[in-house]
């Protein structure tokens, strides 16, 4: 039983990391109309940048700080270079662009950083833990949970209290009408990419030390993130974290008690079941099509 509780706690912490990747997906989906398949690889590429900085001899925390800025710039360049030109060609076209970006970023990582993958990434969080009764809890998990709650809170506050947040809400409800009301939609899309670029790096930094740094390290996270987004409701920024926890706990339980090869499959089943039973997810709102 105590094993189960430990598995659940680490599942929650993993689920929040999933949630933050899913958050990037949902945030871009709401503000730009397209869920970006390249979000995971953006995180991966940015983590590589931090790794290179760290290898260059500056400490890990300064590298992280510089990496945050570069991550935002990088995401902005991705938007301006690949998504902004001819952005009126429809969502399917944009969707395929993000898939092309997915391939491109992986290929770039392989070419620029690649030859000896995977790398050991320096530990950012303490290894120790403590016990509550029979249950072992790792500090790293608690800190992860704290960081992500802080990010979620910051975004919630931005939406609630700032003018930019209000404009982002307007764009996500109805981009053409927001444009008519004077919101500069493209500028906001660029801003959304900058923010997602930074959030993605957080996800990358939380993942890299646990696994090894490689060009395909974010692939499972991207899939889990999509599953979380669908379970939580593709339009709900808070729901995606709940979805992430559901996916994190379920996959953790499955890989502990059934087998690691079915972890991804269990997330897939969750995704399909959600689409079948409740297509708009736990917290999303059904969309109404006008004829």
């Amino acid at each position: 039983m105590s094993l189960a509780i430990s598995v659940i706690v680490s599942g929650i912490s993993f689920g929040l990391v999933i949630g933050i990747v899913g958050f990037g997906l949902v945030f871009l989906y709401k503000t730009t109309g397209v869920a970006n398949f390249a979000v995971g690889n953006m995180a991966m590429f940015e983590t590589f940048i931090v790794y290179e900085l760290w290898k260059g001899g500056i400490g890990i925390w300064p590298s992280v700080a510089i990496g945050m800025v570069l991550g935002g710039v990088f995401a902005l360049l991705v938007y301006l270079g690949a998504l902004r030109p001819f952005d009126g060609r429809g969502n399917s076209n944009l969707l395929v662009r993000t898939v092309a970006l997915y391939l491109l970023l992986r290929a770039m990582a392989d070419v620029f950083f690649g030859s000896n993958q995977p790398y050991n990434f320096p530990q950012l969080l303490p290894h120790s833990g403590f016990s509550v009764g029979p249950v072992d809890i790792a500090w790293a998990d608690l800190i992860t949970i704290g960081i992500i709650l802080a990010i979620g809170g910051a975004f919630a506050a931005m939406f609630r209290f700032t003018d930019i947040g209000l404009q982002l809400t307007a764009v996500s409800q109805n981009a053409p009408i927001a444009r008519l009301l004077g919101v500069r939609v493209r500028r906001l899309s660029a801003l959304a990419y900058v923010l997602v670029g930074m959030v993605a790096l957080v996800a990358g930094l939380l993942v890299a030390p646990k696994q090894l740094l490689s060009s395909n390290m974010m692939d499972p996270l991207l899939l889990y993130g999509f599953a979380a987004a669908v379970v939580g409701g593709l339009t709900s920024l808070g729901g995606v974290f709940v979805g992430g926890i559901v996916v994190g706990v379920v996959t953790n339980l499955v890989s502990t008690y059934v087998g690691g090869d079915l972890a991804l499959a269990s997330a897939f089943v969750l995704l399909l079941a959600t689409l079948a039973v409740r297509p708009h997810g736990l917290f999303g709102s059904p969309s109404i099509q006008r004829l």
């Binding site: 898939v99 391939l103 090869d261 897939f268 004829l291």
Partner: protein, 625 residues
């Protein structure tokens, strides 16, 4: 959409490509080129299936390589463990893939393109995990892989070299011909309506999900065939050969080649392998980088792909060619002498739908006129807002009944409830004596309800006659095989549909010289006409028209009015939403006024349009002064 348009006339370019592939070994017999082209053809077999799926049916798959894996593994496992003859093993593998595609497709079709893209992407990763794991290791060898049993035909090994080259070419040619056949028969045309707009397809009686699943099955079986050949070329199967990035590469090949062209993906595959190979010789790690840049550039700047580029160059080069080589411009069909006779009689005579709930023929019988359409106590609520509130409408057989009312009065909602698109909150709709509750959109059409939409949604890349023809089918049922084989009964069905389409166009007086024009090149007025023709081509008993005059000039409104009168003369009852008062006076026998979801008044057009309350609703309170 990604594919700006799907093309119908792709046979010649495809045959030219296949011919080049036949002759190529005579020009260059290098081993390296041969193995590149062999792999290209193997991938192309999957890519053309993907083109049918994405380019013609509008569905995405980022997991198509799963079917390659199914084909490769099922074939090899059956040969190794069940000692099955290799031909039977290939057949079984393809059928297995078809079955999987059927099951998965049935789930995927319920998702929008994004959901389907996501689910297939996911599926590829799950399949890879399962293949690498221990669960199937008894059959697949798990992580350590399995050898592919050697296969040869008449002493020529199919495991590589000339044998595999020509085997791949034969399979590719067969696959391409099936795909080309598919896009020309009813099922393929119906898929293109689905791609354009699923609701419109349903209203035309097309079984939307069935057509989509069909495309999945076709694409899956082709990919499995490719997978068997892929297994030959590998000689040894291991999970890494079926990595998720393969699926994305396959989609990229189709997109770079140009979706909606069948020939494009073949070019895309050749391009991919030749360029990758040349680059990997020059700079080993950069081939993936370059290809992803090419993909991005194509998707961002040239969304029609290499095929579109080829079309463009050909259109530029053609004037420079000697006269004899130029293809004659699509010749207008010979003037149709029979159109002059009596279009109404021809239209009415060509009806064998006596069993329908009120066929067109029965109308002219005369006597006491009964209501064909009865709407009782119809209420449609969105949360607290009532779009329709206790609406009663009765449309007499043979009438043109107009629905008028200001914006937001619930007119389109009423039509949606009648055609089954929007389930009503309360109340009933019946056609003749038959209650429509619980009957699907496409089944209502089959029972005799046709409709048009406010924004005509013709398939832009099909010509006028084909657009109408797809509406002319009595039923969209039946298996795909007889269609692909061109059995006499299916050919007869198509011939009837074609004839009925022409009669419908004659009835509404659509110019015979404009019938070979692509719908994209029509004026707004013509589009509305063709939309009406498409809706009546199957001889419905009731025609619902949503704003057929919106956005038209006076002359075009006259044309539409004549079309509506022609439809009425042919015995079809019409329920029409209109804003234009002159049009209503001209065509309507009766008129219902809606305001805020309630029926304000009913009567003859003259009475209704003279009613003070109606004037007030339309002109505003100021009119009283």
């Amino acid at each position: 959409m990604l594919a700006v348009r799907a093309r119908t006339r792709v046979t010649v370019p495809t045959l030219v490509l296949l011919l080049i592939l036949v002759l190529f070994p005579l020009v260059d017999d290098g081993v390296r080129m041969q193995s590149n082209l062999t792999l290209a053809m193997i991938y192309a077999i999957g890519a053309i299936g993907l083109d049918v799926l994405a380019g013609y049916t509008g569905q995405f798959s980022f997991g198509q390589f799963v079917y390659f894996a199914i084909g490769a593994y099922v074939m090899s496992a059956l040969e190794t463990h069940a000692h099955l003859n290799w031909v039977l093993a290939v057949v079984a593998a393809v059928l297995a893939a078809g079955l999987v595609a059927y099951v998965l497709g049935s789930a995927l079709v319920r998702l929008q393109h994004f959901g389907s893209a996501l689910a297939t992407f996911f599926l590829a990763a799950v399949a890879l995990d399962v293949l690498s794991g221990n669960r199937l290791a008894r059959f697949t060898g798990g992580d350590s892989g399995m050898a592919v049993p050697s296969v040869s035909v008449g002493g020529t090994s199919l495991m590589g070299g000339d044998g595999l080259y020509y085997a791949s070419l034969v399979v590719l040619a067969a696959g391409a011909l099936v795909c080309i056949r598919y896009i020309h028969v009813r099922a393929g045309v119906a898929s293109r309506v689905v791609k354009q707009n699923q609701l419109v397809a349903a209203v035309l009686g097309i079984r939307v999900n069935r057509e989509k699943v069909r495309a999945h099955v076709l694409a899956g079986m082709l990919a499995a065939l490719g997978g068997c050949l892929f297994a030959f070329s590998l000689g040894f199967l291991s999970p890494e050969s079926f990595d998720t990035s393969q699926s994305i590469d396959l989609f990229a090949i189709a997109a770079v080649g140009g979706l909606g062209s069948i020939a494009g993906p073949i070019v895309g595959a050749a391009f991919f392998f030749i360029v990758t190979d040349a680059l990997s010789a020059a700079a080993p790690s950069s081939s993936a980088l370059l290809f992803s840049i090419v993909l991005l550039v194509v998707v961002v700047f040239f969304s029609t792909g290499l095929f579109g580029l080829g079309e463009f160059l050909w259109s530029r080069a053609r004037p420079l060619l000697p006269e004899a080589l130029r293809r004659r411009p699509a010749s207008p069909p010979p003037a149709q002498p029979r159109a002059a006779a009596d279009p109404v009689a021809a239209f009415v005579a060509d009806t064998d739908l006596g069993t329908r709930a009120g066929s067109a023929g029965a109308v002219l019988a005369g006597g006491e006129r009964e209501a064909l359409l009865t709407v009782r106590d119809l209420t449609l609520a969105f949360g607290g807002v009532k779009a329709l509130d206790d609406v009663q409408v009765s449309v007499l057989r043979g009438d043109v009944h107009a629905i008028i009312g200001p914006n937001g009065a619930g007119k389109t909602s009423l039509l949606n409830c009648i055609s089954g698109i929007q389930p009503a909150t309360d109340g009933s709709v019946s056609l003749g004596a038959r209650d429509m509750a619980g009957i699907s959109v496409s089944s209502r059409r089959n029972l005799g309800i046709g409709r048009t939409f406010q924004h005509p949604s013709l398939v832009a890349d099909l010509d006028v006659r084909t657009n109408v023809e797809i509406g002319a089918y009595d039923r969209h049922d039946g298996s795909i095989l007889p269609e692909l084989l061109g059995l006499p009964s299916r050919r007869e069905r198509t011939r009837v549909a074609r004839r009925r389409a022409d009669e419908a166009l004659d009835l509404i007086e659509f110019s015979p010289t404009r019938r070979a024009v692509l719908a994209a090149d029509l004026t707004m007025g013509e589009q509305k006409q063709v939309d009406i023709a498409r809706a009546i081509a199957s001889r419905p008993s009731l025609l619902l028209l949503d704003e057929p005059t919106a956005g038209l000039g006076p002359e075009e409104i006259g044309v539409v009015a004549r079309a509506v009168k022609g439809v009425r003369e042919a015995g079809i009852t019409v329920l029409v939403i209109a804003h234009h008062v002159g049009f209503v006076r001209d065509v309507a026998d009766a008129c219902t006024v809606l305001d805020f979801g309630k029926v304000l008044t009913v009567g003859s057009p003259a009475d209704v349009l003279g009613d003070e309350r109606v004037v007030e609703v339309f002109v505003g309170a100021g009119a009283r002064a």
